[in-house]
Amino acid sequence: MNRLTVSPSPHVHSGDSVKKNMYGVIIALVPALAASLYYFGLGAAIVTITAVLSCVFFEWAIQKFLLKNESTIMDGSAALTGLLLAFNMPTNLPLWIIIIGSLVAIGIGKMSFGGLGNNPFNPALVGRVFLLISFPVQMTLWPKPIESQASYLDASTGATPLSIMKEGLANGESVSALMAKIPSYTELFFGNSGGSGGEVAAIALLVGLLFMLIRKIITWHIPVAVIGSVAVFTGILHLVNPEAYAGPLFHLLTGGVMLGAIFMATDYVSSPMANKGMIIYGIGIGVITVVIRVFGAYPEGVSFAILIMNGFVPLIDKYVKPKRFGEVVKPAKA
C-alpha cells in the first residue's frame, strides 16, 4: 500500500485554478478581438500579436534573469495583459512603441511589485497611460474603421467621436450639431467608429461580459456600478443642459467605458474584495471618467479613472467589509 496522505480539511477542491480564470477572460475577449480584426484588419493583428508576445517574453525574461523564480507565463496572465494592452492602443502604432508599452506594463506595472497577485495597479493600464503621456501624438491618431482593414502604419486616420465632441464643444458648437458628425448609435454599438482596437464594439464586449458572468469568473458588481454611474451622471448633466452635455448613451458607447468597465476595472488583483467595496470602486471609476471627459483636458478618462481608483483599493478593503453573518439580529419571538 502507498503511504497515506494526511492533510487538514477540506479534502476536496473545486478544480478551479488561476489558469482557468485567466484563459476564461481571454476567451471572453475573443468577440472583441474578432470585432477589432474586422474593423482594423492587418493593423489590429500586428498590434495584438506584438503586444501579447512581448508581454509574455518580458515576464519570462524577468522571472528567468532577474527574479530567478519559477516561470508563471503559462498561467495566462501575461498574455491577458498583452491582449488588454493591445485593445487599448490605436492599431497603427509602431512596433517599438508597443514593445516599450509591454515592458512598462509587465516590468513596472506587474513584476516590480512581485508578480501576479501583488500589483496594485492594472498592468495593462500602467503601460497604456505611460504610452499616452510619453507618445501623445502616436497614441491619439486613430485609424478609420473598415477602410484601414488592409493597412498598418499607413492607415488613414480620423478623430474619435469623443474628440469630435470635446473639440466641438470647446469651439462653441452645440451637442445636437456635433451628433450629426459622428456615427449613429447603432454604428457605435456595433463598433463602426474610430478608437482603440478592442474598445469600439460594445456588443462584442457585452457578449464577453455575459460569458464571464455565466462562468462565474467575475460578479456583476463592478461593471454594473461603472456603467450605471456613468449613465446616471451624464444623464443628469444632459438633463440640465442637453446642448452643452452629450447624453448617457453617447458616453457609454464611445471610448473605453465598456472595455474598462468589463475587462479593465474587473482585474482581480487591483479591485476590491467585498461586494460593497466593488460597487463603491465602480461608482468612483464612473464619476471620475465623466469628470475627466466633460470637465478635463483629455477627451477620454477611463484609464485614468481606473488607475486612480486602483490606488484607493487598499483603503476600500480596509473599511468596507463583507456583510457578516448575524450582524442583523432578528429577535426571537418571546
Binding site: R3, L4, T5, V6, S7, P8
Partner: protein, 286 residues
C-alpha cells in the same frame, strides 16, 4: 517682479508661522525621557530579537534603567561584554551569565525514522502538529517544515535537506530562544555552551515506551536507564521513558555516550576518538 516678491513673502510668512506652531506644540507635548535609556540602547546589539524577554532593545534598555537590581536581566545576544558595558553606564552590577546555545533534540533523520504518511498541508510546523502527530511513527519528533529556521533572525539555522532536520550554526547562534518558542514540539532547548564549546545532550524527546519508540525511530531514547546507572555525577534523570542530562551537573566524562544502545546521546566539539582496535562484531542472523 511683483509676482516673485509676493510669492517669496507669502511662502516665507507661512513657513515662519508653521515653525512657530510646531515649536509650541513640541514644547507642550514634550515627554521627559531618561537620557541614559538612549545610552544603554546604544550599547545593546540593536537586533530587536526579543531574546531578553522584552519587545525590542529599547524596552530592555528601559527595564535596565528603571530596575535597581538588574541581575535578572540578560541580553543573550550581546553576552557578558555588552551587559557589563551597559551596566557600566548605569553604575550597576551585572551577574555573568554562562553563554548558551540552541540544540536540536531530535535525530530522527530519514534513515533513522521512516516516514509512514505523507503530509500535504500548509508548510507550517504549527499547523502540521495541531493536525496530527507527524509523518513518522514518533509523535514527539521533528516535523521538518522549518518553522524554527524562519523564526531565526541571525541566520544561525538551516534545514539539512538530507536528514530533514534543522542544523544550528553555533557561531551565529546568540541563544535568543526564538526557535525554542517557534517549535510546536518543544524539540529545541537552550543549553550551556560548555567549556571549549563541548557539551553532551540526549538528542531525543520521545516519551513512548522503549519498544514503541525504537520501532518509530532507531535513534530514539528508549528509557533503558543505562546512562543513569553509569553516570558518576547523578547528572542524568530518566522520566517518562526519556533520559535528560542536567548540564549543570554534567562533567563531560562521556561514559553515557558509549553506554547508550541507540546512540541517542550526542557529544559536540570533542576531539575525534583515537583509533581503537575494532572488535569483530558478531553478525546476528536476521
Amino acid at each position: 517682479m511683483n509676482v516673485v516678491l509676493i510669492t517669496i513673502i507669502s511662502l516665507g510668512v507661512l513657513g515662519a508661522l508653521a515653525a512657530i506652531i510646531l515649536y509650541f506644540v513640541a514644547q507642550k507635548f514634550k515627554v521627559f525621557e531618561d537620557p541614559r535609556i538612549d545610552q544603554v540602547e546604544e550599547a545593546l546589539p540593536a537586533a530587536n530579537c526579543g531574546g531578553c524577554g522584552f519587545p525590542g532593545c529599547r524596552a530592555f534598555a528601559e527595564a535596565m534603567v528603571k530596575s535597581d537590581d538588574i541581575s535578572g536581566l540578560n541580553c543573550p545576544v550581546g553576552g557578558a561584554e555588552t551587559m557589563s558595558a551597559a551596566a557600566a553606564i548605569l553604575g550597576k552590577e551585572v551577574a555573568a551569565a554562562a553563554p548558551m546555545v540552541a540544540v536540536v533534540r531530535c535525530n530522527g533523520t530519514c534513515e533513522n525514522r521512516p516516514r509512514i504518511t505523507e503530509y500535504d498541508g500548509a508548510t507550517s510546523c504549527s499547523i502540521a502538529s495541531s493536525l496530527y502527530g507527524g509523518d513518522t511513527g514518533c509523535s514527539n519528533g521533528c516535523l521538518g517544515l522549518g518553522e524554527c529556521v524562519d523564526a531565526c533572525a541571525f541566520d544561525a539555522m538551516y534545514m539539512d535537506e538530507k536528514t530533514g532536520l534543522p542544523i544550528i550554526k553555533e557561531d551565529n547562534c546568540v541563544s535568543c530562544g526564538a526557535c525554542v518558542d517557534a517549535c510546536p514540539k518543544n524539540i529545541i532547548e537552550l543549553r550551556k555552551k560548555g567549556p571549549k564549546n563541548r557539551r553532551i545532550f540526549v538528542s531525543c524527546i520521545n516519551t513512548d515506551k522503549g519498544a514503541a519508540a525504537k520501532k518509530a525511530c532507531s535513534a530514539a531514547c528508549i528509557g533503558c536507564k543505562k546512562c543513569q546507572k553509569i553516570c558518576p555525577f547523578d547528572a542524568i534523570t530518566v522520566e517518562n521513558n526519556l533520559a535528560y542530562i542536567d548540564y549543570d551537573k554534567c562533567k563531560l566524562c562521556r561514559k553515557c555516550v558509549a553506554e547508550c544502545p541507540t546512540n541517542a546521546i550526542h557529544m559536540v566539539n570533542f576531539p575525534p576518538p583515537k583509533p581503537k582496535v575494532e572488535k569483530p562484531v558478531e553478525e546476528k542472523a536476521e
